[in-house]
Amino acid sequence: MPEVLKAPLVVEFPFTRSLGPVQSAFLTGLRERVVLGVRAGDGRVLVPPVEYDPVTAEEIRDLVEVAPTGTVTTWAWNHAPRRGQPLDTPFAWVLVKLDGADTALLHALDAPGPDAVRTGMRVRVRWAGERVGAITDIACFEPYDGDGAPEPTGHDGVFDDLVTGIVAPARLDYTYSPGRAQSGYIAALAERRTVGERCPSCRKVYVPPRGACPTCGVATAEQVEVGPRGTVTTFCIVNIKARNLDIEVPYVYAHIALDGADLALHGRIAGIPYDRVRMGLRVEAVWTDGARYPDHYRPTGEPDADYDTYKELL
């Protein structure tokens, strides 16, 4: 068993999401330090408000202001906050039923320790200093002893300058491992060799190998060195420069069947004018110093391959 290869992998997107009318009013309200709920068909006031009735699925639009104070309905003590969570010191997750609401809102409660938290305790919103129209405009909740909270003013939920969307960044960190077959492929590349794997059933050699024959559904295991020369089976001419890619356009990107392989891999063709690349062109890998894979493929100078020798690999 070769060494298990590992590499960090970060998947990160800023999700841009548009808001419906109720969500828009709620998040705009938070920006203005107003908490809005929506009245459902059964008379309940839902906070946070939703666009559709959870019982009847009908559209609901009747906005109701509720108080920034409320009661904890359940809690959980988080002694080790994780990235992205509302507080970076130990806190309680809480569901809070705000005064005037019939349902509870999930958020964090800033409290000195679990002994200071209980179901039924009174809390109030701590507003974020900078508010943009997002659930994080509530920085967290804090314990509340009954004094100093403003009463709701009966806001009608109509605002100038409505928030109509949110940008929600999301980041997940992984440790990527390529698995058995691809690890073998990568290990061989480190020695500037290209290896595939042969299907024990149909005998086809897959490059790069993925560990299974997609036709037969069986594991491939027998490693087969292929190349270093191969044949262009098909190609395209790239005319748009890719960001962060220092290659002059136009250039040719091709499917290349390395000698001994039953599946074409792809690579860039250079060392020949782009408009002279053709199907059947014989090529070989070109390595640059320190590279982990071939930089490109160049013509070998051999006569072109006969179409019949690669037509099954198109």
């Binding site: 959870p54 988080n78 969570q85 997750w93 299974a212 559904g217």
Partner: protein, 359 residues
């Protein structure tokens, strides 16, 4: 839904059974294997158990999530392990494999296929599954707070404790019983005497939470006489249904699971007692809720496999509940079993299947 009696002169719905089940050993990491390399042995195992080849399978359906391992389109790579050439009739759900089984069951009901291969897999080891699962939450009001899966389960557990329906020692008892049962399950990741540990998110301790790991499972379904040809004692699906709660956590009564109860009712679970129940309760407190919703008394063998507290390969653990229940029927250890699968935070979505063997 349950099978209904056919109208006079009309052909009734088909009888459909689980005829084979296989699963990997579930492990904390499978870094040396890709998804398809992990999955392929269980595909071969269920096919060999029935003598079927890929070409004999009428419909193939899988369940997985690319977010777990951070590999885009991993389910298409997994198809390499099926051998999908010539082209097969195939589908995928971004859900636990139990829902893939539901889709396959409906496909067989239509008569378009007589056999189905259902599989699912999950590799939680490359990422941080507690954080990954936050990405399935309401993206406007909840996901921006990054409440992890243990935190949400802990809120539910505290609500249950506040309601007087359980306490921490009782939850520890669920954990201990599950891992003791798992000693008979060679595939389990966590079995025997396991320290209950410190709080992860209070009131849940490490022992109240499922192990994090990688694994895969596969099931073969067959209809009517085909099932009898393929399996000496098929596990007939007498009913199967799935239901969902309102998506706002604060709208729900977290101490109950009306969606489970309704799914069970629609699946016919309450028509006669079951002798076995495989419940997909990743957290100890969720077993308490499910037992109540499903009206299971002490006479029912609950999670003889050890359940999700013994092995919880995300996206496969629900399908494994159906597979474990079916396998007990295959072996003659159960005559009528309930299998449950869940998805989402705090038992958000629930599927219930009722399986029976013929005497």
């Amino acid at each position: 839904m349950t099978r209904e009696a056919p109208e006079a002169g009309a052909e009734g719905p088909r009888d459909i059974a689980v005829v084979a089940f296989a699963q990997t050993d579930h492990r904390r990491t499978s870094a040396e294997l890709s998804e398809v390399e992990m999955l392929m042995p269980v595909l071969h195992e269920v096919l060999e158990a029935t003598g079927l080849k890929t070409a004999d399978i009428g419909f193939t359906c899988s369940g997985s999530s690319d977010y777990l391992a951070g590999r885009a389109f991993s389910f298409t790579m997994a198809l390499d392990g099926v051998g999908a050439w010539p082209p097969i009739s195939e589908s995928h759900v971004e859900m636990d494999g139990a829902w893939a089984l539901y889709e396959a069951w409906t496909k067989l009901l239509t008569g378009d296929a007589d056999t189905a291969l259902v599989y699912s897999y999950g590799k939680s080891s490359p990422g941080s599954v507690r954080d990954v699962l936050t990405r399935q939450l309401d993206p406007y009001y909840v996901a921006p707070l990054w409440p992890d899966s243990v935190a949400l389960a802990a809120l539910q557990a505290q609500a249950l404790i506040d309601a007087g329906e359980t306490d921490e020692p009782a939850l520890a008892g669920v954990a201990a019983r599950s891992r003791a049962s798992a000693t008979a399950n060679s595939h389990a990741q966590l079995s025997g005497s396991v320290p209950h540990g410190d709080y992860l998110v209070r009131p849940l301790r490490r022992g109240d939470c499922p192990p994090i790991g990688d694994g895969a499972a596969a099931v073969v379904l067959a209809a009517g006489e085909r099932a009898r040809e393929l399996c000496p004692r098929p596990a007939w699906i007498r009913g199967i249904d799935h239901r969902i709660e309102a998506h706002g956590l604060g709208v729900r009564d977290l101490t109950d699971s009306p969606s489970t109860r309704l799914a069970a009712e629609k699946a016919g679970a309450f028509e006669r007692p079951v002798d076995t129940a495989e419940l997909h309760a990743p957290f100890t407190s969720q077993e308490v809720i499910l037992r109540k919703a499903l009206r299971l008394d002490d006479g029912v063998a609950v999670n003889p496999s050890g359940g999700a507290l013994a092995a919880n390969p995300v996206m496969a653990a629900g399908l494994i509940r159906i597979g474990e229940a079916a396998a007990r029927i295959h072996r003659g250890e159960s005559d009528r079993a309930l299998a449950h699968a869940t998805s989402g935070p705090c038992l958000q979505q629930n599927l219930v299947a009722v399986l029976e063997g013929e005497s």
